[in-house]
Point group: C2
Chain length 249, copies 2
């Protein structure tokens, strides 16, 4: 079924007017016609079945038939904090993380981030990554579009007195060698939380200081096995491990 993202849809609405890029996509790419069924989702977890009404050059009217049950969300709200990768890798991470059910994505600058600061300094990635997340949500059937936070330094992830963090479990994905330290706490010993912060490093992994900070802040560690994954594959593998333990929904 064709699905369209309308973030400002009103619940009491009977007709949804789609304009701009989404209208263009519906008429020119997906070539919908009057009478076709189209799903409308608001990106925050609600979805409606609609039927295409009038089509003009710049807009499509969708007549709401009924609200439908969206694809279920995971029971645990996971925020993925990921060390910045280069453009296409970062797009792949946002796409896969969306399909794999994360609630939010926080791109972070870490000691081993190798992409030049001019590519992220003005947060130009944020709008692009949002578009990638919207496209992924459409395709995978989710009615939720993960929020994309502005790029922040790694330490900015932790709560301050003013802004306590919602995550009650912090999980750091580490490479096999970094698991050797006796202080690492395996994530599987932790009970299922209601929310979790999942940390995945950039291409070059974590620095010693960062690993020490994770221990100090009570993070649990997640091993992704003995083989070295590509950085952009790590989120899907890590999230699969979490859902295998906590359930997909």
């Amino acid at each position: 079924m064709t699905r369209v993202y309308v973030p400002d849809v009103q619940v009491e609405t009977l007709v949804v007017e789609v304009v701009g890029d989404e209208a263009h996509h519906l008429t020119r790419v997906l070539r919908v016609r009057a009478g076709d069924s189209v799903g409308v989702f608001d990106g925050r977890g609600r979805e409606w079945r609609t039927q295409v009404g009038a089509i003009t050059k710049s807009s499509v009217s969708l007549i709401v038939e009924r609200e439908v049950s969206p694809v279920p969300e995971p029971a645990v709200r996971v925020t993925l904090a990921v060390g910045l990768l280069k453009g296409d890798q970062m797009d792949a991470v946002v796409r896969d993380a969306t399909v794999m059910g994360v609630t939010a994505i926080r791109p972070v600058v870490t000691d081993h981030v190798a992409v030049p600061s001019k590519t992220w300094r003005d947060n130009r990635g944020q709008a692009r990554w949002h578009r990638v997340a919207v496209a992924a949500a459409k395709q995978c059937g989710r009615a939720v579009v993960p929020t994309i936070a502005p790029v922040t330094p790694l330490v900015g992830l932790w709560p301050t007195a003013d802004a306590p963090d919602a995550a009650n479990l912090t999980l750091a994905c580490v490479e096999p060698a970094a698991m050797q330290g006796g202080t690492a706490r395996d994530w599987r010993t932790a009970a299922r939380p209601s929310a979790a912060l999942l940390l995945i490093g950039p291409e070059g992994g974590w620095s010693g200081e960062e690993l020490a900070m994770f221990t100090e802040r009570g993070a649990h560690t997640v091993s992704l096995g003995p083989r070295t994954l590509r950085a952009e594959s790590a989120p899907a593998v890590a999230l699969t491990l979490l859902w295998a333990a906590w359930g997909w929904t």
Copy 2:
């Protein structure tokens, strides 16, 4: 560490002569110099630490120092049978499946395969996919390169009287809707086998006939969750589920 694939390396050898593409890669791309450490693996699970000796225009001599313990292989030998996808997606599947530890890859033609037959009829993909698997093995640290079988029809996967199949558990990844049938056997009810055949459909999923055949042949089904994955992401997710249950090694 730089790693090089030498499939015909002799165990008793003291010096490995690398020629051809691998030599070119070592000298022109990785720019090794005399005295550098290089790992040599045979693609069948053995690995040696060597030191670069003489470098000529077309060859590199590697002086064997000692055999080393390779990255451990999974306890369960998994053959991935995957419905043909288009070129770059298929490359991604071969790369991810290699990194995720499969023993063999069998590209199959299924009812919903959408790539034109001229792209696979003469098996021209086989050599290319082997190169992708070698590159992935080098990067992920494995000393095993999965074998790539010629393209076969789906039914060719099952053993005949002449050629009994080594796999003692068949697992079919199915989309959420296909799980509804009461006859599906969940893979998690099966004991850990020594070998398994993991079936992943093409972009369009399985046909009704194929699903019926899986049931008839005693396959267990693997659900990859309620959200629709991209076809090329499914192998990494499915393999992660298997290793989460059976162990990474």
